[in-house]
Symmetry: C2
Subunit: 210 residues, 2 copies
DNA sequence: TAGATTGTTAATCGATTAACAATC
DNA sequence: TAGATTGTTAATCGATTAACAATC
């Protein structure tokens, strides 16, 4: 199967879930696992796991299951977390600052190497080990460093402009926390916090009526 | 249409997107808008918007479009942001602290009324206007206040326990930032930041091969 | 060998889109 | 009236699941 056919988005997201689950199993000392067991942990169907994996190859042994350590390694390569990623953060507000110190990211090989903000009163201040730089220094910074991923954590009205700048600098992907749809050709992942609250509000409202 | 039939999840999420887009249009002083215009702003199909709205009623005028102000009000009621929501945050780490100060939430009527942490060394410290309380005080707090939504921003291994506690206290919904699937019957919205980075990494890796 | 579980196909389910009559 | 756009149905597309032969 292993071609570069289009992989459905839900599949991509689940790969990360499998990866996480496998790591937990590994920590528990489990050597072999059946799709059925992963499925029950994640609350999905075992056939879905097997189907998802089949996009990339055959990793299991019939009658036995999957070797946990081996499948972790395979998923690492497939997802791309077998390497380190250099990340910068644009916007040193609440969200931006939190991400700089967020241990989850470093653990997963996403290394934050720079923080930028347009507010000169923030420039020079430290967040963890990093010093906030003015956004105008980004261009220079990009010449000296390989930046692969940028996080957009700026106010809504600045997000599109920043995106265009990032695209020019050759950044490869964006994680967008601003509540706008970005117009760009590079891959974007949206993390829309207020939207999640709204979705939850809706669901709570419906709970009673069932 | 307006029954309490099941609304597909993607529809619910898009309602929030429509709401946001309509507010922008309102700020721009636009009175009437066609589904085609909303669609082009959001990068989706106009028939999808009309279909989504049709789950809840008829809000447009044929040949004319939708009255922006009116549709905003309707969506407010449908989504449930016509009222204020009381929110508490469990876990005063990076993410938890950032959310307390996050202006986006208050603006959307999600009012954070308490922050809790298990780490006694954090208790008593201030985040914005709120004082971090010890998690053991939660029970007491819940008696004196109506808490509707809880944010879980604790380490993975504490998340399930916290969830069960919250369920007992009668909390109505959870926004979960911990990287685990919570087993609970109350509605949960997942915000999985590291998963988004992984998904992005995968997409970047595929970009080249297309 | 008997039992278990994979990888894959085909069937099912659900969500998106096109099309168009209704109507402003 | 002529033009525009809705609300809704039916067609299409895509994703999930069941089923099972292959095989460890």
């Amino acid at each position: 199967m292993k071609e570069d056919q289009k992989i459905p988005n839900p599949v991509v997201r689940r790969l990360g879930l499998y990866y996480r689950c496998l790591n937990k199993l590994y920590d528990e000392g489990i050597e072999y696992v059946a799709s059925k067991d992963i499925a029950s942990r994640l609350g999905i169907k075992s056939s879905q796991i097997r189907k998802d994996l089949s996009y990339f190859g055959e990793f299991g042994k019939r009658g036995v299951g999957y070797n946990v350590e081996n499948l972790i390694k395979k998923l690492e390569t497939i997802i791309g977390v077998d390497k380190n990623w250099n990340v910068i953060i644009i916007g040193a507000g609440n969200i931006g600052s939190a991400l700089v110190n967020y241990p989850g990211l470093k653990k997963e090989k996403f290394n934050i190497i720079g923080v930028f903000d347009a507010d000169r009163s923030k420039v020079g201040k430290k967040i963890g080990k990093l010093t906030i730089q003015h956004i105008s220094q980004l261009h220079e910074f990009a010449k000296k460093n390989i930046i692969e991923i940028a996080v957009i954590a700026v106010p809504e009205n600045a997000a599109q402009m920043v995106t265009e700048e990032l695209e020019k600098l050759g950044i490869k992907g964006i994680v967008n926390f601003a509540p706008v749809k970005l117009r760009t050709n590079i891959p974007v992942e949206e993390v829309d916090i207020t939207l999640s609250f709204k979705t939850l509000a809706f669901k709570i409202g419906r709970e009673g009526s069932r």
